[in-house]
Symmetry: C2
């Protein structure tokens, strides 16, 4: 595991969704985050102390987390410069980008020189198998989305918290770098070889017999021209009993592809149900999660209410209003199982 | 490129679709194949001379091609033994399996010892980008399937041959190891990192302005629980104008997953059209290719005629009856473009 406490990297990011890994850690592992590193041209903040590398070490930080995402996941020269300076100051460096730290000779040399470690979180397990789609025991919920970066991880973690608060066993199953950094395990699905997408999900969410839920973090969107393959394999591997769909109501176009508009929530849900039915014909939708952070609270509440009526499902913003309505519906649809009893029995 | 002539490996294979790489080379690169290597327990043959490794070298072979496929693509111990013996006899060894020859220390050592080369065809290019789905010039046809290994590569190569016979520019774009061995280029799609599936197809099938067709080899099936993610990304990256669907009418279940039945051709075609519309709303189906090798010729012809009427599309077995009917329909739907004129103009 990556040793905390963390210094969270923002660099020169100008895009809120581009810093979602850093923000995810700031929210869900707040106790492990001592500060943020950002350049003068970065207009964003996580609300943490702004620290240089040496100051961060002084404040107890052990690792710089390069918690930013960019299409393609390449290591820009400035990022390499910053990582090298962090190593020199005495920090380990962790990254979830496709481009591995350990493939950057300057960083490998610097880490060796300063006795620090490079952590590439987006390194999939070597022993994956192809999926088989065979029915397996246990209850599984998957978050899906109209687009990338619409709050699937946040929603999934919020659902886990709410189920546990009701004394129902529930485990978050991470499929992305932020989720893996937060939960300590999972599979970086977008870094897996294409043939093993569904198999990787079958591996991280094996049959369970304790009556609890696996809450699987969704990725991408069936309607995203770059990543729909990942979303499709994830749906098949997850074999979900329940789906929650996540959506950003103010986004102008699909992330990274300005010529693609977001799909309608209802049409997107229908497509997801149809694809999911291949491995679980009984799959059903149990809720809608909207990211309303850009809307006034009253407008956000009205939009949730309206969307709920329109689609016949509980609709909420997990951050603003919690997820009790979705969990209520989930438990209505799926009576809790006794330990040892399985969804297949 | 892998140096011919080839000795084609069958080993102990007992399954016709398991030897499709060896058979593909025997058919489409017949002039480069001097023999087949099979063990006594192998009931299959390509109709070539059965040769041991030393005899193959004597007959002029330069490379042993491990032209077999198996789920997961692992190198079984017998396969490693045979490859090692082939190297000792003076042959290079080529493989399209997931498990790389160069990750097998015994083979690396043997290749070095005997001055021979190991070719891992299923090694994707290092410089892939994520797809963007932006409309691009040119005409593209993609073969899709109700299942894996139903004749997509054969059909695509047959379509290329027929278009060229009519003096229309056409290029096969390989997406699997056999196709790559046959055509000399392409991308081993199932070995690509999940995030780059559609981007890899955009790369091997760039905008074209000469009025010709790119004929893209399909992979997997939207209805296969192991590989539908690959098929989805392929559809989006291919941005096809035309689809040809391939089907094996006598197969009892989806390949490798006995608990999944093959989808109906019409339902499968509809699903493919729907997914393909994300990046090309004007996509249309132009034909059906049936693998009728297990049926008497009269029955095969009747089935093609019946399927054609049922779905309103030309239907043929490319091997038994050729693909003129599909190409006729294709050219009806898409009037030939003048060089310089593009589908977008």
């Amino acid at each position: 595991m990556v040793p905390g406490p963390y210094l969270l990297y923002l660099g020169s990011s100008r895009d809120e969704v581009g810093i979602k890994t850093s923000r995810g850690l700031a929210v869900f592992r707040a106790e492990d985050c001592v500060g943020e590193f950002r350049r003068d041209d970065c207009p964003l903040t996580l609300g943490l102390a702004r620290l240089g590398f040496a100051d961060a070490v002084g404040a107890g930080a052990n690792t710089l987390v390069l918690g930013i995402v960019n299409a393609g996941g390449r290591l820009a020269p400035q990022l390499v410069d910053d990582a090298e300076a962090a190593l020199a100051a005495g920090l380990h460096v962790a990254s979830g980008l496709h481009h591995r730290l350990k493939d950057e000779p300057r960083l490998v040399a610097a880490a060796q020189r300063h006795g620090r470690t490079l952590f590439d979180v987006r390194e999939p397990p070597a022993d994956l198998s192809v999926g088989n789609g065979a029915p397996r025991a246990g209850l599984r919920l998957l978050t899906v989305g109209t687009d990338c970066s619409v709050g699937k991880m946040y929603t999934t973690l919020a659902l886990e918290k709410e189920l546990r608060a009701r004394s129902i066993k529930a485990d978050f199953r991470a499929t992305g770098q932020t989720g893996i950094l937060i939960s300590g395990s999972g599979v970086p699905l977008d870094a897996v070889i294409a043939d093993f997408i569904s198999g990787a999900i079958e591996m991280i969410s094996p049959p369970r017999h304790d009556g609890g839920w696996d809450l699987i973090e969704g990725q991408g969107s069936l309607f995203h021209p770059s990543f729909a393959g990942v979303s499709t394999g994830l749906l098949h591997g997850a074999q979900p009993d329940a789906l929650v769909i996540c959506h950003d109501p103010v986004r102008a176009h699909m992330r990274g592809v300005p010529h693609f508009r977001l799909p309608d929530i209802g049409a997107c849900l229908e497509a997801n149900i149809k694809v999911a039915q291949l491995t679980n014909p009984a799959v059903q939708a149990v809720g809608i999660a909207l990211n309303t952070s850009m809307l006034p609270r009253g407008e956000a509440a009205a939009l949730c209410a309206e969307t709920s009526v329109q689609l016949g499902l509980p609709c909420t913003d997990p951050i603003a209003f919690g997820v009790t309505s979705i969990i209520d519906r989930l438990l209505q649809c799926f009576a809790p199982l006794a330990p040892g009893q399985t969804a297949l029995s």
